[in-house]
């Protein structure tokens, strides 16, 4: 035996085996590494056999988990050894030790190629296997043709071809271009005619990779796959060697059915019928047998068949057979089958019409949730989560809650998140939802993320009926001996806001509520103390008539924390103390929290974002499409302290006002809002802050003097305290839109629009009547902008084509959208970009003028007197030559006017007019209809009155003459009249916009007027 020669290796392995502990092992390994290193150093003396022995030792040491940072070259060099045993070691050890990017591999590429194209089959196999395992891009580029040749060669034996197939698969994955689809599709189909099952097994893997990439190209392979499956299922012409416990190669059957799942459908009725016959046989003919191996193998085929049936969306009858089978599986004791039953049933949720049948198995599934095996519990949890809807939410969530107490730590976070989401999505009533969340916090407080308790607070605030109930409930929990800190947070928040609603109940006087809360203060961390302080301030305010004793108690606490090292606590203490001494003024500032605007649950969003396996993901999606319980659609109540603000025309962003909901039939939100629930990043950002921000953390500016602190974050915090008008969060542009537009009329690149979320830049190139603009849409945030839409409203004279604008702009990304412009004829009209996007709850819609103005199609041209005058004279009188006295001109020195005209590409030709107060201008205008037309302009100014001038224009096109005259007039007369002061307001955070009214001089209003 080969091993006989490698005594040294056996001795070493024995030594390692005899080591008593890790330390001894390390010493022995170090010794061996030293030995091998020295031997490799004077390589000359090494025989191929010795080299082989040492290389195996290296592999062994590496397998034990020790770093082997030398000897790689020796391993690689064995590849080019002439004899099989050395070569084999070289190939195998190289593919274990090196990765595809290793430099040494490049050295070997020639030897490898020689082996592949050589005549020696065994060498070919070794080389193909190594390339198949670790070949990189370089291998793909230099070896793909050779490998393809081997795979297709009729003279090659199956043992080489099967390796070539998988080698090609590797090369294809490294560089898909190496397989030319056009030529390869037919060859792939031919390969499937192969009789040898070894070659078929590996070719099928290649096919799976190819069709997953491009199923259309390989449609001819589909009937062949069905044929192979039929051959196997009927056990025709399957050699004994490929039959496993009586089952014709279960692995090839599975692979073939997998390949079929990549074709979206089967059109040919014959193929479809044959396939369904085969599948029917598998579904009905798979029995449970005693022999474990046979049982497993036949069920491997059965589960793959189930997946294929689901994929093909078979007839109802067959589907119900599948569900029935799965129903049987989820109830069996054998753990593997039960696990797979649960897993596949979760996948089945994606198929329509089977929900009700699956629900019948709820009891068994819940039983699996209590299985001792965590693998099974996880599958059961996923399935329960997927199958939950309004009808069974109560049962399922209660099971999850019960299980939570005994669940292992590894699962608690997932479990509580899922329970919270289901409770929210499918709550039959809101008080139940509150119960569930409080139980979750109570049982698994450590695993409850802030999102969960923020959400329950939002619901309580938005639902008046819920407030006394929630307040009473949290108070009960506070009486428990050990209360989780999260529970203290929720309780403090809710009791601060609503405990006065309980005042008449026994044990609920302000004093008693205060003392229950205050008991917890010594046990909590600094993040909770501010919430407690807010609650105290609110309780104090609600105490009517004032209770002197309580006031002294609370004031003492505020005074104590006035010098707290934590800035948040200190600020709150100082401010509440000062505020609470103001008496009546306190009422406004510490008023009840305004309702939250309805937004998508951050929890659900999180669950959707989270990395979940595809089956689960689809299940979530499926759920999301279904109608959710009405209970959680926040009933909209317009706050009493403010009528909805008038929405001025031209307001930049009309945020959806929730009041629209009530006018509908109080159905689901999706009915009202045609847009799918959106990622609500800003909402999430503000959400927590809004909840945590105590009333009074943001004090209106006149109170700032009290705190003496300029809270930078107050603007954001403000959403919690400012009057309700804020619900219409307007997104204000940064800078003046009109000014930006005018600047861009003169230059070719710059910023067209900017607001807190997006910046739209523009870069333009103009050539004759063609223009190419590139819009740069830059997302300024760390969250994506979604529902991005850009529409060009071109005037009649411009042909514009905007390339596709992506629907989503990733965080901090910039998207470039080229826009092709063709000018058809002269006109002063401007194109408008109608742009909208969604950020959080804000739908922003902006209409922007695009600087594709008349002057962009002008080309200045120097004209000599000899050229000018004949032209000027030949164009006599209207409509080709027009004259007008213009009044109300912005007074400016002549040189400034010359510069202005020059910047519009109207070239001043000095010396043509003897009067120094006159300007003569020449330019060429380009459009598709008119081609190049020379335009001549003469402007006569009056040095005594700079506000008026006489302008004469001439060109070969009457429209052009008129339009250009009007254009120049506009530039000289109508100066952008935007007052600077208000427009230059600093870019305020969006949520802090306290004034919903858009001033009359707002650029947006102006723009709207202009449009």
């Amino acid at each position: 035996m080969a091993m006989h020669g490698m005594r040294g290796l056996s001795v070493f392995i024995s030594d390692i085996r005899n080591c008593q502990n890790k330390e001894q092992e390390r010493l022995r390994v170090d010794k061996e590494l030293g030995n091998v290193r020295t031997r490799f150093k004077n390589e000359k003396g090494l025989t191929p056999y010795e080299k082989k022995k040492y290389v195996w030792k290296m592999l062994y040491i590496y397998m034990l988990g020790y770093d082997v940072d030398f000897g790689h070259m020796e391993a690689v060099s064995l590849i080019s050894a002439p004899k099989y045993p050395e070569k084999q070691v070289g190939y195998i050890v190289t593919s274990c030790l090196l990765n595809e990017n290793h430099d040494f591999l490049r050295v070997a590429i020639n030897s490898v190629r020689n082996d592949i194209i050589g005549r020696n089959e065994t060498f070919q196999c070794l080389a193909l296997t190594m390339v198949g395992n670790i070949g990189g891009r370089e291998f793909a580029e230099s070896l793909a043709p050779d490998v393809q040749k081997l795979l297709l060669s009729s003279s090659c034996r199956p043992l080489v071809r099967k390796k070539a197939a998988l080698c090609l698969l590797r090369l294809f994955r490294k560089n898909p271009d190496v397989v030319n689809v056009d030529g390869w599709a037919d060859r792939m189909a031919q390969l499937l005619d192969e009789r040898d099952l070894g070659v078929l097994t590996s070719s099928m893997s290649l096919l799976v990779a190819l069709v997953s990439n491009n199923h259309e190209a390989y449609w001819t392979c589909l009937p062949k796959c069905v044929k192979i499956l039929e051959r196997l299922a009927r056990n025709q012409d399957v050699p004994q060697e490929y039959t496993y416990y009586g089952i014709p190669s279960p692995w090839l059957q599975v692979k073939t059915m997998r390949a079929l799942q990549y074709f979206p459908s089967i059109e040919d009725p014959n193929t479809r019928r044959t396939l369904f016959e085969v599948l029917q046989r598998i579904l009905m003919g798979t029995d449970v047998v005693k022999n474990v191996n046979k049982n497993n193998a036949s069920h491997a085929v059965l589960f793959e068949a189930l997946a294929l049936v689901m994929h093909l969306d078979a007839e109802k009858e067959m589907m119900s057979q599948c569900v029935a089978l799965l129903g049987k599986f989820v109830a069996v004791r054998e753990p593997n089958i039960r696990y797979l039953g649960l897993e596949n049933m979760t996948r089945m949720l994606m198929v329509t019409d089977v929900q009700e049948v699956i629900k019948r198995h709820q009891v068994q599934i819940i039983a699996s949730l209590k299985d001792p095996d965590i693998s099974i519990r996880r599958r059961a949890l996923d399935l329960l989560y997927g199958m939950c809807d309004v009808t069974n939410a109560k049962d399922i969530v209660e099971e999850l809650l019960q299980y939570l107490s005994s669940a292992d730590f590894a699962m608690r976070e997932e479990l509580s998140l899922k329970a919270a989401i289901l409770a929210e999505k499918f709550a039959p009533d809101l008080s139940w939802y509150v119960d569930v969340i409080l139980q979750l916090i109570d049982k698994a407080g450590d695993f409850i993320s802030d999102d969960i308790w923020f959400r329950v607070v939002q619901f309580v605030i938005n639902n008046d009926d819920l407030q006394p109930y929630a307040a009473a409930k949290v108070k009960e929990y506070l009486h428990k001996p050990a209360v989780h800190e999260t529970m203290v947070k929720v309780s403090a928040y809710i009791l601060g806001e609503y405990s006065h609603l309980l005042a008449r109940r026994p044990g609920c006087s302000p004093k008693e509520i205060f003392s229950i809360l205050h008991e917890k203060l010594p046990t909590v961390s600094t993040t909770t103390i501010p919430i407690l302080l807010s609650a105290y301030a609110k309780i104090l305010m609600h105490t009517q008539p004032p209770d002197q004793e309580l006031q002294n108690q609370i004031w003492a606490i505020f005074t104590k924390y006035e010098s707290c090292i934590d800035a948040e606590i200190q600020q709150r203490a100082v401010e509440y103390f000062a505020l609470s001494r103001k008496g009546a003024a306190l009422m406004d500032i510490l008023a009840e929290m305004p309702k939250f605007p309805e937004r998508q649950s951050s929890l659900i969003k999180k669950a959707e974002d989270a990395e979940v396996d595809t089956a689960e993901q689809s299940a979530i999606k499926l759920r999301a499409q279904q109608q959710t319980s009405n209970a959680l659609v926040v009933t909209d109540q317009r706050p009493a302290n403010g009528a909805p603000p008038p929405v001025p025309v031209g307001q930049l962003s009309l945020v959806k006002v929730p009041s629209m909901i009530t006018t509908e039939d109080n159905g689901t939100l999706s009915k009202v809002d045609p847009q799918p629930p959106s990622a609500d990043l800003l909402g999430d950002l503000l959400g927590p802050l809004a909840i945590e921000g105590p009333p009074g953390a943001t004090v209106p500016s006149e109170h700032n003097a009290v705190s003496g602190l300029e809270g930078a974050a107050e603007a954001v915090d403000g959403s919690a305290i400012v009057p309700v008008e804020v619900e219409t969060n307007t997104v204000k542009p940064i800078g003046n839109i009109a000014e930006r537009f005018h600047a861009l009329c003169l230059k070719d690149s710059g910023v067209l629009y900017e607001d807190p979320y997006i910046q739209i830049g523009i870069k333009a190139e103009w050539r004759a009547h063609h223009g190419r603009l590139v819009l740069f849409l830059g997302n300024k945030n760390t969250a994506p902008l979604i529902s991005v839409q850009a529409l060009i409203l071109p005037p009649g004279h411009l042909k514009m084509e905007l390339s596709l604008v992506p629907e989503t702009i990733p965080p901090r990304a910039q998207v470039q959208c080229p826009l092709e412009v063709v000018n058809l004829r002269p006109s002063r009209d401007v194109a408008v970009l109608d742009y909208s996007y969604k950020f959080g709850a804000n739908m922003v819609n902006v209409k922007l003028r695009l600087p594709a103005t008349l002057n962009k199609f002008l080309q200045p041209i120097p004209v000599s007197a000899e050229e000018f005058f004949p032209q000027w004279r030949s164009l006599s009188g209207p409509p080709l030559k027009l004259q007008e006295v213009v009044r109300g001109v912005r007074p400016m020195p002549l040189s400034e006017m010359a510069n202005l005209l020059n910047s519009f590409r109207l070239m001043i030709s000095p010396g043509l007019d003897p009067n120094p107060n006159n300007l003569v201008v020449c330019t060429t205008f380009y459009s598709e209809n008119t081609h190049a037309i020379l335009c001549l302009v003469r402007i006569e100014t009056d040095p005594a009155d700079r506000t008026q001038l006489r302008m004469t224009l001439a060109s070969g096109d009457p429209t052009l003459t008129f339009e250009l005259k009007e254009f120049i007039k506009e530039q000289l007369v109508s100066i952008p009249m935007v007052p600077r002061a208000p427009a230059a307001a600093p870019p305020a955070p969006p949520a802090a916009q306290l004034t919903p009214q858009i001033p009359a001089n707002d650029p947006a209003a102006l723009l709207a007027g202009l449009l």
Partner: protein, 143 residues
């Protein structure tokens, strides 16, 4: 769909064979092997043969003192892999005659040769025991 690695580990948690089909650094391998060995070896006979770990699954089977652990993608057919392990063991049995941990330890290169004939690039190449063993038998004859 694919096999990411095949491990053979004894019940003390010592690795007897490791073959990876995706590149991991030594540290990653050590960490991975540690984690899954801890997870799988603690399981009882009554529990199922599948363990979810990170973003893939371990399909495993125990033969006397030796555990065969195969890491696969999430969408792999678990039972097919489970029986593939058995096919590997039967193939080794045919060659060694009632294979045991020591055979694999002291004939690591042969175990590698067999595996190499059966799996390539994470896909099953050959399931006929005769075909798998032909090259090894040729070698034995030659030496």
């Amino acid at each position: 769909m694919g096999i990411r690695f095949i491990l053979m580990v004894n019940k003390q948690g010592q690795t007897r064979l490791a073959q990876y089909y995706e590149w991991l650094t030594l540290e990653e391998r050590r960490a991975l092997e540690g984690e899954i060995v801890r997870k799988c070896l603690a399981r009882t006979e009554q529990q199922c043969s599948f363990v979810e770990h990170r973003n893939y699954k371990i399909v495993y089977r125990r033969y006397a003192s030796l555990f065969f652990l195969v890491g696969v993608d999430n969408d792999e057919n678990e039972l097919a892999i489970l029986e593939f392990i058995h096919l590997l063991v039967e193939t080794m049995d045919r060659h060694f005659g009632n294979v045991c941990e020591l055979d694999i330890m002291f004939h690591l290169e042969k175990a590698h040769f067999m595996l190499e004939e059966m799996v390539m690039n994470g896909s099953v190449v050959e399931t006929s025991k005769a075909n798998i063993l032909t090259p090894i038998q040729l070698m034995d004859k030659a030496s």
